[in-house]
């Protein structure tokens, strides 16, 4: 079809759509949420992408007023299934029935007109527009060619009240917090009369308070008869919020269960397809000599302000020292001064009793320091390089991988194949550019590269951030295994549960200093949490006002 005919056709469509929209508005469905969608079924949905079968005969159903969790590992096909439901992808096979009648959803517009709304993981908001403008976008105005933002604002107010979604309709979206932006997304869907709301990982970016608020709203919505599909891989949340859970694995349904009848471990097992160790086996290991020692270390952050103020730490062989703290309190700089990518202004860093303060990054690497960086996409790997090139990145100068100025590609290939297998890196080949790998597989690759060098000291910064259960479990197992091998491990994580379950000792950082070191056997989350906020109970209130010393530059 020529562009011209498309253009003409779209003008005609505009006309009919305008009338349809006006009728829709007159009926009042644009505002009052009188649910018209009582059941929704997806039957035998198949969706293929080049080289991937994303959905392979998926059955899924939602009832009115139900909060239904859709669970699965990264790449299990959750988002694809929901994009099919929202009309963004058309399925290769299968059908969708609303109230028992088959429907075809060709575009989000179709889905919206059937009462389906979706809140994407990455918000679909126009930052330069106001909340009300974002809500009104794409809708016909009650004043035809003139915007009726005052009326929209009024209705947004009503909806905010009804569902406890606090947000100022006249504010520009870019000024809003992430939690508020999410509320705008929900308001958009409610305003359009969504009876079924799909939420793609809605808690991933929220603070605990925002999560509580969101859950209250979602419960209110479900009481009013709205159906909610909640995509997640955080098991506690799923059990807390939803009545029913459908688990996808490798594009197929692994099971659909009532959440009051299952445990986290059951769900995890369904997701991964095998038993998952939610609790990490932490055998006693005899603590060895001091491997890494920091003595009075001072360093500046990226903007030239002090970000480490006299750090004293020791890490022993066969020990995991966990670093807890709110992001931006010097953790990143701590990892960098040990790895050698940041210079220190005072103090010493000692490796196996040798002062390595003045050593180059390369010399530290040769001496047995391994680093899993926080920004794995930027600092951990070269996106444009292949899997094998990334695996050899730190060893390319050694036999058997090179001799003189020549690379031994045979040895490199053999090493790459061995690591890919041993660390279960899912990649089409060792020649694949790693930019196309999933986050979990990229992290496995970095882990493989660092650990295979048998380091004396391993710095693991946010090693499981953004990874799914399976990959997280794998990374945890590898770290614990390193501990058993006698490596001294510095584990830096913002996930307090992770720090508490993996570490032998926990050091808490606040504003560039270590405010306390506790033993895991005696530590409680409460106690550590208080220290993270800057000390005792009294200081906790003051902390929220104090500026965070150095926001991460990433």
């Amino acid at each position: 079809m020529t562009a011209a005919s498309i253009h003409i056709r779209s003008f005609l469509q505009e006309g009919t759509r305008f009338i349809a929209g006006a009728l829709h508005f007159l009926k009042g469905t644009g505002m009052k949420s009188e649910p018209v969608l009582s059941t929704l079924e997806m039957k035998g949905i198949v969706k293929r992408f080049p080289g991937v079968l994303a959905n392979d005969g998926v059955d899924f159903d939602v009832r009115a007023g139900e909060i239904h969790a859709l669970l699965g590992e990264n790449g299990a096909g959750k988002s694809t299934l929901m994009k099919v439901l929202y009309g963004m992808y058309s399925p290769d096979e299968g059908q969708i029935l609303i109230n028992g009648k088959p429907v075809t959803l060709r575009s989000p517009l179709d889905a919206i007109s059937h009462g389906i709304g979706m809140i994407h993981q990455h918000f679909m908001l126009v930052p330069t527009l106001t909340v009300a403008e974002n809500v009104a976008l794409g809708l016909s105005s009650s004043r035809r060619i003139v915007l009726d933002l005052d009326r929209v604002t009024e209705k947004v107010h009503e909806l905010s009240e009804a569902y406890r979604l606090r947000v100022d309709p006249s504010e520009e979206v870019w000024r809003l917090s992430v939690g508020e932006q999410q509320r705008v997304e929900i308001l958009k869907a409610l305003y359009r009369g969504a009876d079924l709301l799909i939420l793609d990982e809605p808690t991933a970016v929220l603070t605990p308070q925002d999560v509580d608020e969101l859950f209250n709203t979602l419960r209110t919505m479900s009481e009013e008869g709205h159906s909610l599909v909640f995509i997640s891989h955080k098991l506690p949340e799923v059990l807390r919020l939803s009545a029913r859970a459908t688990v996808l694995r490798d594009g197929r349904v692994a099971g659909s269960v009532m959440t009051n009848a299952v445990s986290q471990a059951d769900l995890a097992c369904m997701m991964v397809g095998r038993e998952v160790l939610l609790r990490i086996d932490h055998p006693d290991v005899e603590r060895g000599d001091v491997r890494l020692m920091l003595d009075g270390v001072h360093a500046d952050g990226d903007r030239g302000f002090p970000s480490l103020c006299g750090i004293d730490l020791e890490v022993h062989a066969g020990e995991i020292l966990g670093i807890a703290g709110v992001s931006g309190n010097g953790q990143r700089e701590l990892a960098e001064v040990i790895a050698g990518t940041r210079s220190i202004s005072a103090g010493t860093v000692t490796l196996n009793g040798e002062d390595m303060t003045q050593w180059s990054t390369h010399r530290r690497l040769e001496a047995g320091i391994a680093h899993i960086p926080e920004e794995r996409m930027v600092d951990g790997a070269v996106q444009e390089f292949s899997v094998e090139e990334n695996l050899i990145l730190k060893n390319h100068g050694h036999a058997p991988y090179s001799r003189g100025i020549f690379m031994n590609f045979k040895a490199i290939a053999a090493m790459a194949d061995r690591l890919i297998q041993r660390y279960d890196i899912k990649t089409p080949s060792r020649q694949t550019q790693i930019g196309s790998l999933s986050g979990g597989n990229m992290q496995k690759l970095i882990l493989a590269r660092e650990i295979s060098r048998n380091p004396d000291v391993l710095i693991a910064a946010q090693p499981t951030r953004g990874l799914d259960i399976g990959a997280t479990e794998f990374v945890h197992q590898q770290i614990v295994a390193q501990r058993a091998d006698g490596t001294a491990i510095l584990l830096i994580s913002e996930d307090l549960d992770e720090v508490l379950s993996l570490s032998d000792r926990i050091a808490v950082m606040y504003e560039g200093s270590v405010v306390g070191v506790v033993d895991r056997k005696s530590a409680t989350a409460n106690e550590v949490g208080r220290m993270m906020a800057g000390g005792g109970c009294e200081a906790a209130g003051a902390r929220s006002l104090a500026p965070v010393s150095e926001p991460s530059a990433g």
Partner: protein, 305 residues
Amino acid sequence: MTAVIVGIVSSSLRLVTPYLFAAIGETLSQASGVLNLGLDGIMLIGAYAAFYVGITTGSLALGVIAAGLAGGLLGFIMAFVSVSMRADQGVSGIALYLFCLGLSEMLFNQTLGGVRTISGLQPINIPGLSKIPVLGPILFHQNILVYIAFALVPIAWFVLNKTPFGLKIRAVGENPHAADSLGVRVRRVRYQTVTLGGVFAGIAGASLSIALLNLFQPNLTNGMGFIAVALVYFGGWRPVRVLLGALLFSTVNALQIWAQVEGIGISPYLTLMLPYVITIVVLATMKRRNSQAPSALTKPFERGQ
């Protein structure tokens, strides 16, 4: 002194008209995310179409309509190439400009055969207002295209800020994926703005060939369209500021002509630089508050994951 100011102001109002048409149209298409660098070429073809139709039919109104149609067609072609074919906007705009430049030369040779003149659009007095001392003759004794050009500014402002269509334009230029998720037809909006921008550019050409200069010759626009594109950036994608920028540019231009005519002892090469120098100085010192380019400017839209 009054006469001097009257002269400079009326001169700048005449000069500003083609810039205003072209820059307001370009503001719309850039607000939706399409940079149309072919503006100067579309103006040339518009200038030719208005002149040719005007001289052959004797109707200047038909000439203006022909310029708008020709401009709209070229805008549509630009939209096809940059929106549907997702070609690089900078390159396709320059290609369109070169195509129009060559086409207008050919049409000039084939159909006009030489420089000819036409009796152009005559000034229209606005009853009452044109009698106001000093201001009247300047502001309310202009040809119809000058009035339309100035009327376009509040209209464009209103459309962009107060209508559902304008909301779509801004959303499509800022975050087309968000707009798409709400059922806004991203490509269609871009087709509409770029085509409309073409219509205005065509009329900008008409305002040169049958209102200001009353002749057509190859390369008549002499790069005005590129200045118009710069004015859109200057104006921070806001019609009123685009108007201010265009007025500043044309006033300084009128001023430098006046300075030369009055024999003020400055080298003409310094005064000739003045409009550009002032533009650069203003751009450099202007507060950049909220005058960010549309985030999706020059980025073709592709429905993705």
